[in-house]
């Protein structure tokens, strides 16, 4: 009697989870399917639950690869900005986090609390003065303007600090005896040891910058400087006849991330759960 009841319960719960998983994946799946449907129908009817399989074709992709020049410009911009953000923010944030973890110096606790405090301050509050600053430095419509506020990421500093706390400090002393400088110790010995933490932060920062919206929307002005989210958002007009670019472009935007996710699932999970940073 009881095992049977248990089996039924299991069946129901697993069934519920299948439904929930389906709901979670449904928008992504329907995005993929819709990208093979005629954009004119999509614009008129929206994404439907039912569709005529005979209408599926590759037109949207043909269009994006032949005439989607501006789209690939956005793609390049997003790639460059994301790569720069990853490299710069990981470099600086790891330095700061490392120092906060391994050195005893005056103000260490103060700076650590400051890092935690800054995580809590919403960026939107600093936005207008930063925007003014970018105007006065004539950085509007440049990569620099987009990247600058992301260079030292407090959340990454926090993560690196936690990770560096576990580094073997004896290594530092023996390296000093061998005549290594403090900077040599960091770059040649400790940074390689911290590499596992870099993967998670690269994903956090990369994804954050790939999907970043409000700040680039403010500082980027011309169509050829837009990043992917900004560019795609300009196609979101009800009168637009650009739905072919919009839908195929959206697929091409999330496809590389999904592929990376399949291979580096662990680091995605680590990176995105470090502190609930907006993706």
């Amino acid at each position: 009697m009881k095992p049977n009841q248990n089996k039924l319960l299991k069946l129901i719960i697993n069934g519920i989870f299948f439904i929930i998983s389906f709901l979670a994946l449904f928008p992504i799946i329907s995005l993929f399917i819709s990208s093979f449907r005629p954009s004119s129908i999509l614009m008129r009817e929206g994404i439907s639950l039912t569709f005529d399989p005979s209408t599926l074709n590759l037109d949207n992709y043909l269009y994006i690869f032949t005439e989607g020049g501006v789209y690939w410009q956005w793609y390049t911009n997003s790639l460059i900005i994301s790569l720069l953000v990853i490299v710069l923010s990981l470099f600086f944030s790891s330095m700061v986090g490392y120092a906060l973890a391994v050195y005893d110096f005056r103000g260490r606790n103060f700076f650590f609390i400051l890092v935690l405090f800054i995580i809590m301050i919403p960026f939107e509050i600093m936005m207008l003065p930063l925007y003014q600053m970018m105007i006065s430095f004539q950085l509007i419509n440049s990569y620099t303007a987009v990247i600058l506020p992301m260079i030292v990421a407090p959340i990454a500093v926090f993560f690196f600090r936690q990770y560096a706390l576990g580094l073997p400090r004896e290594l530092m002393d023996s390296a000093r005896i061998d005549g290594a400088t403090e900077y040599g110790i960091f770059f040649r010995i400790m940074m390689p040891l911290m590499l596992p933490s870099f993967a998670a932060m690269a994903i956090l920062q990369g994804l954050g910058s790939w999907n970043n919206f409000l700040w680039p929307l403010i500082v980027l002005r011309s169509n050829d400087m837009f990043t992917l989210p900004i560019g795609l958002a300009t196609l979101l007009t009800p009168y637009g006849n650009n739905y072919d670019l919009l839908i195929a472009g959206s697929v091409m935007t999330i496809l590389p991330i999904l592929v990376l996710f399949i291979f580096f699932q662990r680091y995605f999970v680590e990176g995105l759960t470090v502190g609930g940073v907006k993706g």
């Binding site: 929930i20 700061v96 890092v115 003065p129 030292v152 900077y183 795609l232 959206s250 609930g276």
Partner: protein, 337 residues
């Protein structure tokens, strides 16, 4: 001379060791002032390489970025909120910006945002707790698949996922949501043009994106509950529900405080989820948020002083709520222990 310059070249690489032979050399007497040349940078190097100075150089990027990109803009935002800022003409106007904030549009934005925060916090705490408890139990198979598929929505940007939602919740009876309702005989809804459904769209989009991430937070917290507690509860004859209420839930309190805090902060910062559905403006401002209002006034209307005042009010709201929440949940008490 040659040996000195060789030493100087070596110094940046292994300073500490190289400095020792140098000290021994000095009593031999530098014959000319030229010897002091390479000596000077060596002192500088030793200074920068000392254990007292190095940490400050390591954290210098943070200090600079904090001063230039956080502290200065934060102070400037407060100053700007007392100014009227026109091109080439900045005047202090006292509290005028704050007086202007008390207008129906801002109240609407604040009401919308508050309702949105309450709904998303409730949904993004309650459901992840329930789902993660089941995912952690022996009842569920294919855990990895469920976890991964619930996590995937967090990877897509708000713009891409919002665009898909917009097409699924279109006004026509052929759009997915209306099609579904049609099967139950409910007529096509104009999702983006009614107050309740506008809120529903924003809350649903956010809940859909963050559910998986929050489930992972709770799963991690569940791993930390000692198994012996459940065994002890079993011996005492506790029902599964009692075990959940009296063993599981108390252990989930810290992570719940964390999830609630970030959900509140992110909720008050919400902008994109509204922008993707209505771009510049929603009918009757049914989708307007506080940050949306800040963007509209500060950037689009170029009324930066007023926009800054909206930002300051937003900052105060977030601080007060976080503070109250931390006191209520006893987070400060734990810190003292």
């Amino acid at each position: 001379m040659t040996s000195t310059s060789a030493n100087a070249k070596k110094d940046p690489v292994n300073g500490a060791q190289a400095s020792k032979p140098r000290r021994r050399k000095q009593p031999e007497g530098p014959k000319s002032n030229r010897n002091k040349g390479p000596n000077q940078p060596n002192k500088v190097l030793r200074f920068f390489n000392s254990k007292k100075v190095a940490p400050y150089i390591f954290i210098a990027p943070f200090i600079i970025s904090f001063l230039v990109l956080t502290l200065y803009p934060a102070i400037q935002a407060i100053i700007m909120s007392f100014q009227s800022i026109l091109p080439g003409q900045v005047n202090f106007i006292g509290l005028e910006n704050y007086e202007r904030i008390t207008n129906p549009t801002f109240y609407k934005a604040l009401t919308n945002t508050t309702i949105y925060v309450i709904l998303t916090v409730a949904i993004l705490v309650a459901f992840p707790i329930l789902l993660s408890v089941f995912l952690n139990s022996r009842l569920v198979k294919y855990k990895t698949f469920f976890r991964a598929s619930l996590f995937i929505p967090a990877l897509a940007s708000v713009i891409v996922s919002g665009m898909v939602f917009r097409l699924m919740f279109g006004e026509t009876d052929t759009a997915a949501a209306n099609q579904f309702l049609g099967w139950f005989g409910i007529g096509p809804l104009e999702w983006r043009y009614e107050r309740w459904s506008a809120m529903f769209l924003m809350v649903f989009l956010t809940s859909w994106r963050w559910m998986g991430v929050n489930i992972l937070y709770y799963l991690a917290a569940l791993q930390n509950i000692p198994k012996e507690l459940y065994e002890a509860a079993d011996i005492d004859g506790a029902t599964p529900i009692q075990k959940f209420l009296f063993v599981t839930l108390p252990f989930l309190k810290p992570i719940t405080i964390f999830v609630t805090t970030i959900s509140i902060i992110n909720g008050f910062r919400m902008f994109e989820e509204s922008f993707v559905f209505w771009e510049s403006g929603s009918p009757g401002n049914i989708g307007l948020t506080v940050v949306g209002y800040l963007y509209q006034q500060g950037i689009q209307q170029n009324d930066m002083g007023f926009g800054a005042a909206v930002g300051v009010v937003l900052m105060l709201i977030i601080f007060v709520i976080s503070f109250i929440q931390l006191i209520l949940t006893g987070a400060f008490k734990r810190g003292d222990e």
